[in-house]
Amino acid sequence: MTPDLVYLATGAGLGALALWRLTTSSDPLRRVLALNVLAVGIAMILLAAAHGPGGADAVPQAFVLTGIVVLVAVTAALLALAETLGPRGD
């Protein structure tokens, strides 16, 4: 078991958990949380794929860094909209 495989499986697991919650929850905050978990899962998959015997590839690392910053921006926007709407019951 090399670390790439373990963390590849972890990334896929995170993706599965997030998809499951995303499709079964209507709470806006929980959906935002699920999307964040999904993004972490994708980042983990990318980093696991970038990890090879010759060390870690720098370009996918830059992709993931970009992804993290983009995601916090989108999350802030989502939460601002959710707060403007207030609690939504359904």
Partner: protein, 477 residues
């Protein structure tokens, strides 16, 4: 290369200036949009003279760096964005959004320009990019600006639609990102040139499927269009026009690129696009027929028209029919922008936008109604509009191939669009005995000029379609 410099940096700088200086935001916005249009014309001239060119940003050649691809297709899309944007900007200068109260109005006016200019910068970046990850980042900017434009009216329904739009958009871009991750694992790089090698392996096809699905959400392609009618119909008119005419086209553009790069091996992908497009034509058409509000009808009509464009991409094969898809994209951009602006103006004049109440005896049809009618003619595809040329090339190619099923489907889709647009046009333009003798005409606004100009553009593009076609010849396939 000064033109590319202007296209890539001016909109962003102008957006920041407009964000920081509220009082000057409108002049900054209109000035930057006009300069951007000039740069787009110059770059188009350059491509016509010297042919397509690829430059490496920062001097780092692909795959390490990001290639900037200036070819016919990219330039046509840049021109479309620049001029439709200019039309909408003229409208936004003097608009008075119907949904916004006085307190909200200042906020709406304040933030429209920064958001639009960021949209413009992101679209320029997107059309020129030759790298999948770079496209993803550009899509993220667009996703946020589009949501900002949707929420600009401040109404509760618009905010709710904006939230759903952002969730859908984020799911879409995460799917694209996941596709990029798998593409990286499969072939070790992520520029657009890898698509042929992606099509060759099972892993690559999974990656491509994820990317296409993500783009389908962003492009509101049936059945992943669920977020779109609410978002497009609850925004202020100029925002709706930008969203419907331009923003969804970016995803269609990338789908077209993927289909072109994929060549003959991408046939399953195109079959999928064709099927989804056919579904969209009927679903969107049916909902537009039943819509009770004008803006909702226009939004559902976008679903149907996107379907038609997807069908055009789908049936194009690896031949030259894809140019018909581009012409349809152009004609839809012009016509739909005009239509949303006109719809906003009509609603403002009437005080509501119920279709059943469009024909009023004390109000003569004005410029907005005429603009709507011309745009409708282009969308249905009557000569001499650009919509007609696009459909003509498409049908001719399909008949040559003997693809009668698609010919039939497109004809039915056309009849549907004629039917739902006639619901509006017949009421809008009713004259003669139905109008009382003393009926007033709606007063002239600068916004009417924009709607009329865009609609006339759709008409004129049909007569001048040789220009985009000549540019499209300069796309290495």
């Amino acid at each position: 290369m000064t033109e590319t410099l202007v296209l890539l940096s001016l909109p962003f700088l102008a957006a920041l200036a407009a964000a920081l200086h509220a009082r000057l935001s409108a002049p900054i916005g209109i000035g930057a949009t006009a300069l951007n249009a000039a740069a787009a014309v110059l770059i188009a001239g350059g491509v016509l003279r010297e042919g397509p060119a690829t430059t490496a940003i920062g001097g780092w050649s692909s795959p390490l760096g990001i290639p900037l691809v200036v070819d016919g297709l990219a330039v046509v899309m840049l021109l479309m964005t620049a001029f439709v944007g200019l039309g909408v900007a003229v409208h936004a200068m003097g608009r008075s959004p119907m949904d916004a109260g006085p307190a909200r109005l200042a906020q709406t006016r304040r933030w429209f320009w920064p958001l639009w200019l960021m949209t413009l910068g992101a679209m320029n970046a997107l059309f020129l990019s030759g790298d999948l990850f770079n496209l993803y980042v550009a899509f993220e900017i667009l996703g946020l600006t589009a949501v900002g434009l949707t929420a600009l009216s401040g109404s509760r329904s618009a905010t709710a639609a904006a939230f759903d739009y952002l969730i859908a958009g984020l799911v879409g871009s995460l799917m694209v990102l996941l596709g990029i991750a798998i593409a990286y694992a499969a072939v070790g790089q992520v520029d657009l040139d890898i698509i042929p090698s992606l099509v060759a392996t099972m892993q690559g096809r999974i990656a491509l499927a994820l990317i296409v699905a993500g783009l389908a959400i962003k492009g509101a392609l049936f059945p992943l269009h669920f977020w779109m009618p609410a978002a497009h119909s609850s925004a202020v008119p100029s925002a709706s026009a930008l969203l419907s005419a331009l923003v969804v086209k970016t995803a269609l553009y990338v789908l077209l690129r993927v289909s072109l790069e994929g060549g003959a091996d991408a046939a399953p992908l195109r079959a999928l696009l064709g099927a989804a497009g056919a579904g969209a034509m009927f679903w969107g058409g049916w909902n537009a027929l039943r819509a009770e509000r004008l803006k909702l009808l226009v939004a559902h009509s976008t679903v149907a028209q996107i379907g038609l464009i997807a069908v055009a991409i789908g049936v194009a094969g690896d031949g030259m029919l894809w140019k018909a898809a581009v012409l349809l994209i152009l004609s839809h951009a012009l016509a739909k922008a005009a239509m949303f602006l006109a719809a906003g103006r009509i609603a403002e004049e009437l005080g509501h936008d119920r279709i059943s109440g469009l024909n009023r005896e004390d109000l003569r049809p004005g410029a907005a109604e005429f603009a709507f009618a011309i745009a409708a003619i282009s969308l249905v595809g009557l000569p001499p509009t650009a919509g007609f040329i696009g459909k003509w090339i498409l049908m001719e190619g399909l008949i040559d191939d003997g693809a009668w099923l698609w010919v039939g489907l497109i004809l039915i889709g056309t009849v549907l669009s004629a039917a739902y647009l006639a619901r509006v046009v017949s009421r809008c333009l009713r004259g003669g005995p139905h109008v009382a003798p003393g009926a007033r005409r709606p007063e002239w606004r600068s916004g009417d000029a924009a709607a009329l100009g865009l609609a006339t553009g759709a008409l004129a593009l049909g007569l001048a379609s040789s220009i985009p076609v000549a540019l499209l010849e300069l796309t290495p396939a």
